[in-house]
């Protein structure tokens, strides 16, 4: 109504949808007749951590890679901030299951890779990379090479690299599956703490029910062959305070049982 007010406050001019990513009618068929995903409709809300959970073969990684723009769907559309996308974008960053670090580059150069590709000056990108390396708890390892690090530490480099490009959405493809159980737990606790500092949207692919319930605001369960959305649950777990306490929370434990009861049918 009031023109002067609108120009003074441009943020109020565009509609703020809670969904940062919309997945609209995605179908994906592999090698002729393997239906990986069938008619997926999903919305991912700004600032939330959403897990894609399901047994192997349910197409969860395929869906994540389609959202990331690394795979083309056969039909359907992915919209980021309302805009249809057809490839990777600056507003999305990916954390890889196998870390995908350059073995010939130091931790610092690996973490700065996204910025180097963008053409940022060396001093500036290394400053930013150092900041995120210390944020993921790897301070002092900047000059090490990946083979000198443990699996968990390597994945922290992958996380720092994704954080450094300051994308709105962080997509993680089973980020903890290649690290041991103790490291995984520590990593999950750190991720909860990190979410409080970095207000980002997270999409996490996992096959671990515990992990999904522990970390997620929303869990999208996928069923296999063909991959479809079978159920969406929103855990109401208070994650402030002691991260250890969550694992003893009755809500947490009950939800794990409930989800397992649901998924059991798909496991042969």
């Amino acid at each position: 109504m009031n023109m002067t007010r609108q120009t003074a406050d441009p943020a109020s001019a565009r509609p703020v949808s809670p969904a940062i990513i919309e997945v609209d009618g995605i179908n994906k068929v592999y090698a002729g007749d393997v239906v990986a995903l069938k008619d997926i409709h999903l919305e991912f809300n700004r600032g939330e951590l959403t897990s894609l959970l399901g047994p192997s073969g349910c197409g969860k990684t395929t869906l994540l890679k389609i959202i990331a723009g690394l795979l083309e769907p056969n039909s359907g559309e992915v919209r980021v901030n309302g805009q249809p996308v057809s490839g990777p974008g600056r507003e999305r960053a990916f954390v890889f299951q196998d870390f995908a670090l350059m073995p010939w580059a130091t931790v610092l150069r690996n973490a700065a890779f996204g910025l180097e590709v963008q053409g940022m000056a060396k001093a500036e990108r290394e400053d930013r990379a150092r900041h995120y390396i210390s944020e993921v708890g790897l301070e002092g390892f900047e000059e090490k090479y990946p083979h000198e690090l443990s699996g968990g530490m390597r994945q922290r480099v992958g996380l720092a690299r994704a954080l450094a490009v300051d994308a709105d959405v962080l997509m993680m493809d089973e980020p903890f599956s290649a690290v041991d159980e103790q490291t995984r737990r520590k990593f999950q606790e750190d991720l909860i703490r990190l979410r409080e500092i970095e207000k980002k949207t997270f999409i996490l692919v996992t096959h671990s029910i515990e992990e999904a319930v522990y970390l997620s605001d929303r869990i999208v369960m996928l069923s296999p062959r063909p991959g479809r959305v079978s159920q969406i649950v929103t855990p109401k777990i208070d994650r402030h305070g002691d991260p250890e306490a969550i694992r003893r929370n009755t809500e947490y434990l009950d939800l794990i049982d409930e989800i397992w009861a649901n998924l059991k049918g798909y496991v042969e």
């Binding site: 890679k65 990331a68 723009g69 690394l70 490839g87 990777p88 974008g89 600056r90 999305r92 960053a93 990916f94 890889f96 299951q97 196998d98 995908a100 350059m102 073995p103 010939w104 580059a105 130091t106 890779f113 996204g114 180097e116 590709v117 963008q118 090479y145 990946p146 083979h147 000198e148 690299r161 490009v165």
Partner: protein, 272 residues
Amino acid sequence: MPSDHSANAPIAGVTSRWAGAVTDSPLALKVLSLALLFAVWELAARTNFNWAFPGFLDTMAALWEMIADGSMGAAYLRTLEPLLIGLAISLGIGVTAGVAMGLRNDVEWLTLPIFITMQAAPMAALIPLITFVYGIGLASKVLAVCMLAMPVIAINSYKAVRNVSPSLLDMSRSFMGSRRQQIFMIILPAASPMMFAGIRLGVAEGFSGVVLAELLITPTGIGDLISFNRSVAKFAHMYAAIFSIVALAVITVSLLHRLEVTLFRPEKRAST
């Protein structure tokens, strides 16, 4: 430092500590294995099982004689010319073609069969053909080097590029790397170990190519030294010429390995 230890060490400790020092150092191990080989060579010659088989010491004496009178140097000047030209061409075309085949399916389709045929073809059988077409001059010898060295360099470069981890490629794509950045920042460094393995093999093949050419086309350079000394029954000199070309090939290939580590693989420098 060893002397103050041996003062109170038992006798048995001396040899085991010596053995320990040898196995701890890769250089000492290499020297030891060479020394063993030369000792066996010398001993075998002294059994007189074959009058045309000179010992290690005789061979070294002949080698020294040929270096001193300049005949060895003159021979290598002749041999190095086709070898270096041939290797330069093989490296240039081989690596370029291999990388191009790795990056593009259409180039692979067009070019790979040529290199596979070249690699499979028995070289010695083709030399008369080369001589027939290109005569007995430098061109034939260069061609002989290329035909042996180029296919293995090209095929290894091609496989190296194809073997780059798909998740590293996805990684570069997801951070919005252009195709150019992907090639120079990811593919080439990731492919370099296998590519260099191919280059080392190719260079070694190039050495056999040049010797083969000098033995089969016209005796020049090191091939001349080998065949001439054989014809006049100076076997120590013949062995010395063979020894020198083997040693040169080994040294060149080792230097290439070192070059690779300094150029492309800083993480291997850090760990050693």
